[in-house]
């Protein structure tokens, strides 16, 4: 009797023998017929990774990506049938994958692409009316807590992660210049959008998503922004234009 454990092992590792007891119609060993299943698994999972990581693929090239996907899918087969979320271990995998050690920004690009998918499938939420913010007296405004949409994601990186992503996903995007970037993902409609936050913006959004009041989020941003010129209007503007604020609790 063939156990599925044996079948599964042989599927993922072509060094393993084809399980005995599988035959063609003449009773001969299954041979390349088993390879159909091996191929289906490898091709199917590789396609899923190509769909998940188009910019990562553009950065390393199609051929390299396919070979890397072959290593990844054997080390990290999907943990659930939701293929739209396959690839969650890619950032850690890339960080430890010697052939890409010279591209230290790849793990953060993978994190950004995973976050884009999470955002795409996140729950819908009606944005709050931003007029409420402008109508508040300054003291109350600074004590307000802003609840962010389930589709909002923040990727903080010591690399220009948003600019690299944009350069490989949009025509005519400027060449990225070196430096750390905090990438904000919002979903104003059905399509997630990526923007690089100004200095301190990452700490600001992180504090807001932790439920801190606006004043505390500003303090966190100023603590972090070495130039001490955190631009509240721009960071708040990024959230408002991304329809990312769903409740204003005063």
């Amino acid at each position: 009797m063939i156990r599925q454990a044996e079948f599964a092992r042989a599927l993922l590792d072509s060094a393993q023998p084809v399980p005995k007891g599988l035959s063609d119609p003449e009773g001969r060993a299954a041979g390349s017929r088993f390879a159909v299943y091996r191929n289906n698994v490898a091709v199917g999972l590789t396609r899923a990774l190509e769909t998940a990581f188009p910019v990562l693929r553009a950065l390393v090239g199609d051929e390299f990506f396919a070979a890397m996907a072959g290593v990844y899918l054997r080390a990290h087969p999907p943990g659930s049938p939701l293929m739209m979320f396959y690839g969650a271990e890619m950032p850690g995998f890339l960080a430890g994958f010697a052939p890409v050690r010279h591209l230290p920004y790849l793990p953060d690009i993978a994190r950004l692409e995973l976050a884009l998918r999470e955002s795409y499938h996140a729950a819908d939420a009606r944005p709050a009316d931003p007029e409420i913010l402008t109508g508040l007296p300054p003291a109350r405004l600074m004590q307000a807590r802003l609840r962010l949409a389930p589709s909002v994601r923040l990727i903080r990186s010591s690399h220009p992660v948003a600019s690299i992503w944009r350069a490989h996903s949009q025509p005519d995007a400027p060449r990225p210049s070196p430096g750390a970037e905090d990438a904000l993902i919002t979903r104003p409609g059905f399509d997630p959008e990526v923007q690089a936050l100004p200095g301190g913006g990452g700490a600001f959004v992180l504090a807001l998503s932790d439920g801190k009041a606006l004043a505390d989020a500003v303090a966190a941003a100023e603590d972090e922004d070495e130039n001490r010129d955190f631009d509240l209007t721009r960071s708040l503007g990024a959230l408002i234009s991304g329809r990312a604020i769903v409740a204003i609790e005063t």
Binding site: R28, V41, P78, G79
Partner: protein, 284 residues
């Protein structure tokens, strides 16, 4: 076990596997199809465009939910989390039909993303029946089970696939989804007669039919090896087998499956029209 009911409540005409790139075309030109089928796992996110499109389409078309991830033939117990997600989806969508595959795809909590084959033994039969009973209990409805495309055989098999499926349907009260392309692919690969398969199939249980394209390869000995690929038109020998099936079974909801290298809507609509022409020749 559920009571045996008239399987499926899909309209008797053609449907297609829904692809998001056809959304606008389907809304503009809905007449070629009477219903749509979705893959359950693609609609298990919390929101966003997929769910919004599905809600919109479900207002206009009966929907068939086709699962590809439940691993009903798996040795391990069914994934309770996945079954719960399915219950959620079926709960809000209230589809006209729910179907899954006679196959396994998960082992040791790893999802292998393929429909893997089973030996047709009493032990497998008992296990598959247990799982189907569980699915029908949790979902509170009858499901359809689809015959697989197979590329090899198990020496340990004790019965034919048609007897195996008939046994499952009889014990669990489930309906069957007859994939005529899979019949043709498996019969070619196993060197058996696809017409004999249809004649032996419990056609009264069939709530839905699938038609799709396949690829042609050769095995180690130069024998034809057909691969169920859903990336090309339905070939004439499969249409002929479908004619034979409908002549025997009567009209049944028929789906055109095209999952890879998906063509423009008119190509898919033309395939659906060809199925409709066959269905129109027999009483429903």
């Amino acid at each position: 076990m559920l009571d045996t009911r008239q399987p499926g409540r899909l309209p008797g005409g053609p449907g297609v596997g829904y692809k998001p790139q056809h959304y606008a075309a389907i809304i503009a030109d809905p007449d070629p199809v009477e219903w749509l089928e979705i893959h359950a796992e693609n609609y298990m996110g919390a929101g966003g465009r997929p769910i919004a499109q599905l809600r919109h389409l479900a207002d206009r078309f009966p929907i068939s939910v086709h699962g590809v991830g439940l691993s009903i033939g798996g040795e391990a117990p069914l994934d309770a989390d996945h079954l719960a997600r399915l219950k959620d989806l079926v709960g809000w969508l209230r589809p006209a039909s729910f179907s899954e595959h006679l196959a396994w795809s998960t082992h040791d909590s790893h999802f292998l993303n393929d429909l893997l084959p089973l030996p047709y033994t009493q032990a497998t039969l008992a296990r598959v029946c247990r799982h189907i009973d569980q699915v029908q209990d949790v979902l509170g409805r009858q499901m359809l089970l689809e015959n697989p495309a197979t590329y090899l055989g198990f020496d340990e098999s004790e019965m034919s696939e048609t007897d195996f499926l008939a046994g499952i349907a009889q014990r669990t009260g489930c309906g069957l989804l007859l994939d005529v392309n899979n019949v043709f692919v498996s019969a070619t690969n196993q060197r058996t007669d696809p017409y004999a398969y249809i004649d032996a199939f419990p056609l009264a249980r069939v709530g839905e039919i699938h038609l799709g394209g396949h690829d042609v390869q050769k095995d180690d000995h130069g024998a034809p090896l057909l691969i169920d690929s859903h990336g090309t038109p339905v070939v004439d020998p499969v249409w002929a087998l479908y004619d034979h099936t409908i002549a025997r079974a009567g009209a049944r909801p028929t789906l055109i499956e095209w999952d890879n290298d998906v063509p423009d809507w008119p190509v898919l609509a033309a395939e659906a029209a060809r199925a409709r022409a066959v269905l129109n020749r027999v009483p429903a």
